[in-house]
Symmetry: C2
Subunit: 314 residues, 2 copies
């Protein structure tokens, strides 16, 4: 039997790092990445898809590995000139990065679907894995804070995630349908991996699209999740703070609990190995390994552990 | 009496050069510039107004004086990245220049008028003269060639003005109304100057907007035009070739003839002084001077001649 597809559910930087390793350990053509698009935004009239782009730039080798977003060595001449015109410039947009947004926005206005446009962009940039938005429909994360609701990028970038998060909702999620190929590929996949991304704002919206959580449930023993919480802290981003303000303990076990209905394997960092027993009590097989990916070596070795544990090597 | 307004009808590079001189010779606040917008275009989904921008960048000191368009020292990182995505990149767009188009396009989509947006941009860039699009309505130059009709920028930039021009039409001109203030300012102006711009594709569209030509006619003795044709050639652009392919002799006198119903003073270059008598026969007062503006000194001295001849000094 030829090796089957491996599906990954992905947010931004944490996912991109793990996928950078995975695509070097498995044939990248086998990997089908479902990207969160609930933190997409309209900035300067352009359609920005931060998570799609972070994964695309990483897998095409264009990413800025230090910064986590954008293109390595990009300049900000356009943004500086926008500031001169009095425009709001709290959302950083590099000059090369802008080309992606211009291309995407124009194609959307021409009536093309986000999934088709993403295929065009990834092909042009030489990405060999499939990267697919969770849905071609508009879904937008709204952050409820004690003083009112915020658009996601306003909460995350403009206000630097400093507001207390009461709850999160995904506008449009209940009417959205999965992008073409998503359910079919999950159904036929050899394995499904939840990247170490924020469970609320990165994985949460994907799970909120009609049919996706159900399709994962029916494949539970092939679904693995990597904890984004290590030693009580998020590897990247506001996940731990969000858990706290939603009265959850910021711990790997709590993430496992959120996924217990559809995840068969849960990967915890070695610093959290005491939580393995609690994971097992949820009926989930724990795998303890190093999950902190400082460099390419760690990215690849985490990928190798997952590949071995799920038995999906070629 | 305080010195009155001076209206200028302007195309692109030739107009910008002359206005650079004029705004240094007269108080820039007196100058009201009506810009051609019939060569506006949608490129990468952005609304580009080449003539508005050329004049704005020149008067704000940002222009690239050699190239004639765009911003001095601008980079082209975004355009290079667009090329990498497979987009058509025959229309050069600098990174700083892009900010203007992004700003304008977003404001238009928000429902703002082009005249209001232009006021915002020119204020932000420190321009002290008023720059106003001829109309807030959409007017588009179409170039009829022996093999079919071309959009203006396709003819001018993509195909480098190499097609024979059978005729020119301005789509939307007959329904377009002048931008706010245009007719009122012409009516009250101390003088109106036609910059040395292409009579067909730069000045022609402005004259085609309802009421403008008539308002100039009623001020004929205060209207002056500077010939864009010197020694049978255009100072810049395809004016001479256009005249030839429309079976007109490329000569200053032929430009004067096109304007005879509303121009009282016609400024010819000294190399064309033999045509002064023919201009006079049209009932137009000829003024012969150097009109070739190689540097700032020539720009200012041409402006001084006009100011003196029209008696509009402060």
């Amino acid at each position: 039997m030829s090796p089957g597809s491996v599906v990954a559910l992905a947010g931004g930087v944490g996912a991109a790092r793990f996928l950078d390793g995975l695509t070097r350990v498995l044939a990248p053509e086998r990997i089908f990445i479902i990207s969160n698009t609930a933190d997409d935004a309209e900035i300067h009239g352009l359609h920005i898809s931060p998570d799609l782009d972070t994964v695309t730039y990483t897998l095409s080798g264009l990413a800025d590995p230090k910064r986590g977003w954008g293109i390595l060595g990009d300049s900000f001449r356009c943004l500086e000139a926008l500031a001169r015109l009095g425009a709001d410039t709290w959302f950083q947009l590099g000059d090369q990065d802008l080309a992606t947004h211009l291309y995407r926005t124009r194609r959307l206005r021409q009536g093309a679907k986000l999934s088709a446009i993403t295929a065009e962009i990834t092909a042009a940039l030489g990405v060999h894995s499939r990267i697919v938005p969770m849905s071609d429909d508009r879904v937008r994360t709204r952050i409820c804070t004690p003083t009112g609701e915020l658009e996601f990028q306003t909460y995350f970038v403009k206000r630097r995630a400093r507001d207390k998060v009461v709850s999160v909702r995904f506008e449009g999620a209940s009417e959205a349908t999965p992008a073409p190929g998503v359910l079919e590929t999950i159904a036929g996949a050899q394995a499904i991996i939840l990247c170490p991304s924020n469970p609320f704002i990165s994985i949460g919206p994907i799970l909120g699209i009609r049919g996706i959580r159900e399709s994962l449930r029916s494949k539970r023993d092939r679904v693995a999740a990597i904890s984004p919480i290590v030693g009580g802290r998020a590897l990247k981003g506001p996940a731990a703070d969000m858990m706290k303000s939603m009265r959850l303990r910021p711990a790997a076990i709590e993430v496992a609990r959120l996924y217990a209905d559809f995840v068969g394997t849960f990967v915890l960092d070695q610093v959290d190995q005491k939580q393995a027993a609690a994971v097992e009590k949820l009926g989930i097989r724990p795998v303890v390994t190093n999950t902190v990916m400082r460099g390419l070596r760690e990215r690849k070795s985490l990928a190798r552990v997952i590949v071995r544990e799920l038995g999906i090597g070629s």
